[in-house]
Amino acid sequence: MLLFLIASGMSIVMGLMGIVNLAHGALYMVGAYVGWTIAVHYGLNFGLAVFLGGLSAGLVGLIMERGFLRRLYKQPNEQVLLTFGFVYIVTNICIWVWGGGPRLSFTAPALSGLIYLGDISYPITRVVITIAGIVLAIVLWWVQDKTRFGAMVRAGMDDKEMTMGLGINLERVSMFIFFLAAFIAGVAGVIGAQLLGAYSWLGIEILLFALIVVIIGGMGSVQGALLGAILIGVIDAFGKALFPEFSMFTMYLVMIIILMVRPSGLLGRRV
């Protein structure tokens, strides 16, 4: 589910703006570090950490979109390369601010303890992450398919010029979407820090997971990201259990097979 949290934001941006935000993992990392600082270093409320982590990642995303990406309108290649430049910049600034040492994963006091379902016990943290993922999926699906804003977004995906011609301020829409995606990445970072901690190569690692999920699920669809995340989560878990030596490769193998059969992903829009 954490995978879904990460991948959904990326998938939205990809679909709407037609660009791959390679800095998505870096934004996640910003969220993780900020969340760690607030929740562990200052010992403040976990909810506050989630909010501020999301907000800081969102702001970084906003700067990227307003200051740089918007000026390269209709040049997708340059935009993608630009986001990759930002991976380096953001990562290095994080190391500058927080130092190179890894931060251990932590558990918020409110979320510690176990939950019992019959005979099996789960840590509450994981249950909360799963619930958060499901809620996010439902909200995103609802916004995208049922609201006026979602209709604007989908119209923008299909035909930018026409949508703008109808008097919709697509610039503002895409700015908001980019902020939202970055915000989700930041929130995912704070939540994910409970399981993974925070470290300096997080940006690339998370990016890779998100990419594989999005490739498998198909770009620009929330449902695709959800399906891809579940699939990868299950495959990864089984892979680790069945052939631990090759657990890293099972994911890639699935990705390659799916690509050979359906190049646009399982639930992708036609590219």
Binding site: L81, N92, M248, I256, M260, S264
Partner: protein
Amino acid sequence: MGTARLKEAIKQPWREQLIRFAPYIVGGVILVLLPAVLPLYLQSIWTKFVIFAIFAMSYDLIYGHTGLLSLGHAAYFGAGGYAVAVLMFHYGIDLLWISVPLGILIAALTAAIFGFVALRVSGMSFLLITFALGQLLYSIAWNVKWLSKPGMQGIAGLSRPELGIPGFSWSTISFYYFVLVIFLICFFLIYRITNSPFGYALRGIREDEPRMRSLGYNTWLHKYIVFIISGAFAGLAGALFVYHNNMIVPAHLAVGTSFLPMVMVIIGGSGTLLGPVIGAMVVVFVEYFASLFTPERWPLILGGIFVIAIMFARGGISIHLSRLWNRISYRYGSIKS
């Protein structure tokens, strides 16, 4: 510069010829003479620059000329490097004439397999898949014990190649000239490739692939072949890099290394012959100066340069240099170009 224009240029009086080819001559003289008088450490930096120039040129073949945005080019660089390193480490083969061709072959083979998967899609998906495949190779190199020296990730303590000439031993400068000769051969080969009908077809694919397809070109095959060729050159660069660096680590297969030729090509100017070389020079020497002052901030500087280059210096340095050169030659040589 097309072959036709080259022939036309040769017919011109010698003075104008001199002016037209002066940049190449100046560049060549610098490449040949300057390292000989540099201190030892700078010689080795200079060698690194020439190796990365080969790497960047190979990337420019697929990005600049064909318009395929790949984010996993280090895979072939590293594959070539690992082939050479494994041969030396496990089998004790350090004869240049065996290991370098084998390195190129392995890199080309990797490119052939990856290209087969990646070229099923285009645009953004292509970028993502090359990225994922590169990371796949990275995780293989990280996890498979056979590809590492015991107690570390990667293989260290390698030496320069054996030439098979008795009584010959390497020095920094002789290794530089060896790399330079290979660089010049690559430069010439890539010049020939990009100016062949094949090269023109590639540029056609970059500009408008559906049109090329409707003209009867098998665009998939063109892309596939250039992908393999590019992989082979990258593998050669990787093999040389192992000889230069004396070690290889899994990170040489990963995205950080893929990023370098990308930066070089974009800074220098994509789709040109000299651009990647100039870009490699800028990146390697800025890295050197950065490492003197703030080694930790180097990725920040690299990312910053990259962003600035994309935002403000579209077309790269080589475009501006060649414009400047045209103005000079117009004034002094009265040729219009």
